[in-house]
């Protein structure tokens, strides 16, 4: 494997030509590109394939909506406070609530919930 041998040897001792490196990297990038291209194609095909038979049964409205969906449009400050308390109690650690919102469009809502969870989960509040 022409470009791997020098590397193998090099990793043991000495330095390596820029051109070899350039080729090495180009191949690397091309491999990433092609592989993710292939993935993109596969995904599209799958999506097409699935779009034929109804997946409704198989994908119930995401559960997270359920609870919030129950709340009426305007949430009384009282409820707001209680949710706060609930969060406070349930997380057992200092914590600030950004906002409690009720939502019409479930579609949009799914995103925002998603977004909020994402951020909440992967970062602490500041």
């Amino acid at each position: 494997m022409n470009f791997l041998l020098p590397l193998a040897t090099e990793s043991v001792a000495g330095h390596i030509g820029f051109l070899t490196n350039l080729r090495y990297q180009t191949v690397g990038v091309m491999i990433v590109m092609t592989s993710l291209c292939v993935l993109a194609v596969l995904v599209t095909v799958v999506a097409k394939g699935l779009s034929f038979f109804p997946t409704a049964k198989k994908s119930p409205a995401p559960a997270p909506e359920a609870p919030v969906a129950v709340t009426k449009d305007g949430i009384s400050p009282e409820i707001r406070a209680v949710i706060a308390a609930a969060i406070h109690v349930s997380l057992k650690s200092p914590h600030r609530i950004l906002h409690v919102q009720s939502v019409q469009n479930p579609q949009l809502h799914a995103w925002s919930v998603e977004g909020r969870r994402q951020i909440f989960q992967s970062h602490t509040f500041r």
Binding site: L4, L7, E10, S11, A13, H15, I16, F18, N21, L22, Y24, Q25, T26, G28, V29, I31, V32, M33, S35, L36, C37, V38, L39, A40, V41, L42, V43, T44, V46, A47, L50, T55, K58, S59, P60, A63, Q107, A110, W111, E114, G115, Q118, I119, Q121, S122, H123, T124, R126
Partner: protein
């Protein structure tokens, strides 16, 4: 009585303070400041900085190896033993003089004890030759190894990064990616920064293994960076980890200028039509597809990719709430503490206060910038072919750094048009970048090991 005081003083760590220590304490303070008051990835930087603080206090007992067989770290031959069986040795005591067989530098090496205890065996006689990993002697003691020796097994054995990825997978929603598969290419393009940095690093004289580890900083995936450098350049691990995590926090500063420089106002104004809803089944199929395809492509990254998609499968299948919860919280939180501190504990002054560290930090900026640029440019290229244009501002999200890069796209988008919401569109390339980085990391391991 006062004399006793002095006696005790000799047992304390004060006499052992070296000039590097206070310097490193300042470095730690800077990291603490960035983490606590500037919000630089505190979940990682705080443990890393605290570990570094411990690493730069004269407390060898924290990291000492447990007693047992002493495996030679070099090839050569034994010239002379300085201890006899039954002798008590302290960590660092002179054991033997070895003659290195390395053609480059065939000098005599003073071989020192890796742990404390009693010599129960000398396995190689003077004059005999020995090779790397061969048993040189055996040391016995009832004392265990240091706390961080054991915790660090998680990095040495490459267990922590995949477990972190299990949690990351359970926290990641690939929906936006599936709703617009083309964004996978943006995640791929961002890896160009990695390749460029490899060239730069190699050109600056780093070995291929080191270059790859440094370059991966551009991938903006902490766990992948730690995984790769633990394999290919363990001695650079601390510097690389610090760069990887602090730059992730610098994303909001590094990216915007580049994004603006490379895009025209009309491009920044492009509105993308809202994403279709992706079915549970699609997400599950995707998780399995990525697992099979990517592991077939780069088996060396199997543990990273496998755990990432396992966590994601848990998340999407909707019938394993308990496991999702465990991955998203217990596992990722606990491992983060251990990962961070055991990365920090390797950050001793001798290792960190070197010109290499500065070179790595600067190369890291290059990596991030090029990745950002190539993501944006790829988006513009795609627009030449795509019927419905994508806003090039989401290209920069290809560097992953989930979800910060995506938020940057959102912010920049709104600067151009306050009513334009790019966040969810940017999540596509954002998560694609994670896969892209895992693939190129696998490529490096496969070719350099």
């Amino acid at each position: 009585m006062f004399k006793d005081f002095l006696d005790f003083f000799t047992l304390t760590g004060f006499p052992e303070i070296t000039w590097q220590m206070p310097v490193m304490w300042v470095v730690c303070l800077v990291l603490f400041y960035l983490a606590v008051y500037k919000g630089f990835e505190p979940l990682l930087l705080v443990p890393i900085a605290f570990g570094a603080l411990l690493a730069n206090l004269p407390a060898p007992a924290l990291t000492t190896e447990p007693p047992g067989p002493v495996l030679s770290t070099m090839s050569g031959s034994v010239v002379e033993w300085h201890v006899a069986p039954g002798a008590m040795v302290e960590e660092g005591d002179l054991l033997a003089t070895l003659q290195s067989s390395d053609p480059e530098k065939p000098e005599l090496i003073e071989y020192r004890a890796p742990s404390h205890g009693q010599i129960t065996e000398l396995a190689v006689m003077p004059g005999e030759s020995l090779q790397v990993g061969q048993k040189l002697a055996t040391i016995f003691s009832r004392e265990p190894g240091g706390l961080f020796y054991y915790i660090s097994r998680g990095i040495e054995w490459e267990i922590f990064p995949p477990l972190i990825f299990l949690g990351v997978g359970a926290l990641t929603d690939f929906g936006p990616l599936l709703a617009r598969p083309v964004t996978l290419l943006l995640g791929a393009a961002a890896q160009l920064g990695v390749a460029m940095t490899f060239l730069a690093a190699s050109f600056m004289g780093f070995s291929s293994g080191e270059s790859a580890s440094i370059a991966i900083i551009g991938g903006a995936d902490g766990p992948t960076a730690i995984f790769l450098s633990a394999k290919l350049a363990p001695h650079l691990l601390p510097a690389i980890a610090v760069a990887a995590y602090s730059y992730m926090a610098l994303v909001p500063m590094i990216q915007p200028p580049i994004m603006r420089a490379l895009t025209t106002m009309p491009e920044r104004l492009i509105r993308m039509k809202s994403l279709r809803k992706v079915s549970k089944l699609e997400k599950l199929v995707f998780a399995l597809l990525v697992t099979v395809f990517c592991i077939l492509l780069v088996p060396a990254a199997a543990s990273l990719i496998g755990m990432l998609m396992l966590g994601n499968f848990f998340r999407e299948c909707g019938v394993t709430d308990r496991l999702v919860k465990a991955s998203q919280n217990e596992i990722i939180n606990v491992i983060t503490i251990f990962l961070g501190t055991s990365v920090g504990i390797t950050m001793t002054g001798e290792r960190f206060l070197k010109p290499e560290t500065l070179m790595i930090l600067s190369l890291g900026v290059v990596a991030f910038s090029v990745s950002t640029a190539s993501g944006v440019i790829m988006a513009k290229i795609l627009n030449l072919f795509l019927p419905e244009k994508i806003n090039p501002l989401i290209g920069s999200a290809g560097v992953s750094a989930v979800p910060m890069a995506a938020r940057v796209s959102q912010v920049e988008g709104q600067r151009a048009d306050p009513t334009n919401f790019l966040l969810m569109h940017a999540m596509g390339p954002n998560v694609a970048g994670v896969i892209g980085t895992a693939v190129i990391a696998g490529y490096y391991i496969a070719t350099l090991k």
